[in-house]
């Protein structure tokens, strides 16, 4: 019975992660073809074992080799990483004060505040990103507002730049940053800060020596939760970014649907996954450490 219970998550992992991954990996080893599906070789069960060995012989790492020769790809990976790092940093910058304010708010307010943070999830992500076009475009609300204030004379060009991408990412992923930090800060015992002050800390040093280290796990968790999906982000750069915005998610999309080069697109996806595995493992470690510290 116990084994069965343990088997459930493994089965889950197998069905929803490992099998799709293997399929994608297999495609990444094939060659592009004008066919349906658009790659070669193919193998059906009824063809039997001898066909299988032929099939396996036809597979190669050519596509991965191709990725390394065309600098578009590694530039896109690097650019994605850079955008993800910068965006994560800004999300933290915005998210931490919000989480801190929530954790310090009167107890009866907290559920409402929490609700407000989660509320955006009730509408479609796509619609919310679209809404930003209306805000950021040349004649969008932001520019109208700033010109009405007289801060600027000519509209700012924000839409279709990396700035818009950052704004979109920070906005979209903010709750993922806020929630883990909030849950760390909420657990923080007020008397610890009093003790720190009692022992000679100013408010600020007490924050730095007590609040910050005790919310570190939450900060790390929040950063990973933003960073990991941001690297492969596709919707935000294609809607808000411009032609100069280079992100691997966008490249992947173009390979699949514009070029119909499934094998190369699959290779891009496999490499992306390999890149993501590092932060995912680090994230899991952090969570593990978190649990140990609590238990």
């Amino acid at each position: 019975m116990k084994r069965l219970l343990i088997a459930v998550p493994y089965f889950w992992l197998l069905a929803l992660f490992l099998v799709p991954f293997l399929i994608v990996f297999k495609i990444s080893l094939s060659d592009v073809a004008l066919a349906r599906p658009p790659y070669f070789p193919q193998w059906q069960f009824e063809e039997g074992w001898s066909a299988l060995t032929d099939y396996l012989r036809a597979l190669d790492f050519e596509n991965f080799w191709f990725l390394s020769t065309d600098d578009l790809y590694w530039k896109a990976y690097l650019s994605s990483l850079r955008i993800a790092v910068v965006a994560t940093f800004f999300t933290l910058l915005v998210g931490f004060p919000i989480a801190y304010g929530m954790a310090r708010a009167p107890l009866e307010w907290r559920p409402t505040l929490m609700m407000l943070v989660i509320l955006p999830f009730w509408t479609s992500f796509l619609i919310r990103v679209y809404a930003w076009i209306g805000i950021l475009s040349g004649e969008g609300y932001l520019n109208q507002f700033l010109m009405w204030l007289g801060v600027i004379q000519d509209p700012l060009i924000i839409l279709n730049t990396n700035v818009a991408v950052y704004i979109g990412i920070v906005y979209t992923y903010l709750p993922f940053m806020i929630l883990p930090i909030y849950s760390a800060l909420e657990k923080l015992d007020e008397s610890l800060l009093e003790a720190a002050e009692d022992l000679g800390c100013s408010r600020f040093t007490a924050f730095w020596l007590v609040t910050f280290p005790l919310s570190k796990q939450g900060i790390i968790a929040g950063c990973f939760l933003v960073f990991i999906p941001t690297i492969g982000e596709f919707v935000i750069p294609s809607l808000l970014g411009g032609s100069s915005t280079l992100m691997i998610g966008k490249v992947l999309w173009e390979e699949f649907f514009n070029n119909r080069d499934w094998p190369v697109a699959s290779a891009v996806a496999v490499v992306l996954l390999l890149i993501l595995i590092i932060p995912i493992i680090l994230f899991q470690r952090n969570e593990q450490k978190n649990r140990e510290a609590e238990g």
Partner: protein, 395 residues
Amino acid sequence: MMGAGLFLSVIFSGDVMASVAANQVFAPWNDPKETPLIEFRGVTKRFGDFTAIDDLSINIYEKEFFALLGPSGCGKTTMMRMLAGFETPTEGEIILAGQDIAPVPPNKRAVNMMFQSYALFPHLSIEDNIAFGLKREGMPKNDIADRVAEMLRLTRLEKFARRKPHQISGGQKQRVALARSLAKAPKLLLLDEPLGALDKKLRQDTQFELMDIQEKTGTTFVIVTHDQEEAMTVASRVAVMDHGKLMQVATPDRLYENPENVYVADFIGDVNLIEGTARKTGEGSYEINWCERTPPLKSTSDTVLSSGQGCTIAIRPEKVSISSEKPEEADNAVQGKIIDIAYLGNLSTYHVKLANGQMVKAQTANTRRISRRSFTWDDDVWLSWTATAGVLLKG
């Protein structure tokens, strides 16, 4: 309840009595020329419409070991927190070393507090917790290490120096909290139930350590405790509080022997309370009518009562003698039946019911083996005490 009576009689008979007597020499509160280190002047603290501290005035002197005693929720922690700077008085002022401390933030006060909840930093090891305050002072590294080692030794935590707070027991945490507050050697140390989680042996040892530290460093201690024995053992003076009000401040022996009101008499140790009306018979001597069919009780008193005034005699059980025959020369003698006997090893407490239903406790030392005890359940016995044995209280 039984236990309280037991230890108090032990304290006031044994060698601890000597230390109490020695403390008598140190009595700045009797010296009008002394200026107190801490002065509470009509301090009131309200949380919303709840009054936690009610018009409290207290003087605490330098080098005192001042104990706050009182039931849960009476405002002990609140008083401490006002001294440490985490609460401000709603009314009145607190003077520390001649200065109103209201505008001084906690980190600028020469006061350290040991929190009732310990408030150990969970992300720091035990030694780093202890070193925390020293580092803020900018003490040189070597000195910090020495001081931390000294504190670890004092609280017997050497083995746990590298552990994190969640890896040690409750009593050990309490000792870390104590060590951390002691480390900075502040002028005023506030200890909020510092020893509650320790076993008896360790608690006694730590009590003596505290007294020792106090003697060596001259630090002023204010200590909150639920444990009367502890308050009596360590304190130069004890304040008994109830519902945010001060009931009495006195040395432990005076508190026990001369309670000023029924609350204190009842709160400290074990006591018999007999209510009646006073009749003045001479200078400082009274007769108390307490029951219609029995002769009045005689008692001397420092408190001046008018004839016909309601009063209560408070008599400690160990001052009541028990006998089978009516004692000839006793000032007061009453008859009753033994309802219950509490055997406490070295002592026995007899619960005697008088004719009018009043219960009176009498305590005797067990100098003989239990099998040869003179009284048993349902025996009719006489209880007697002298006119000076009891304390006469108003109300």
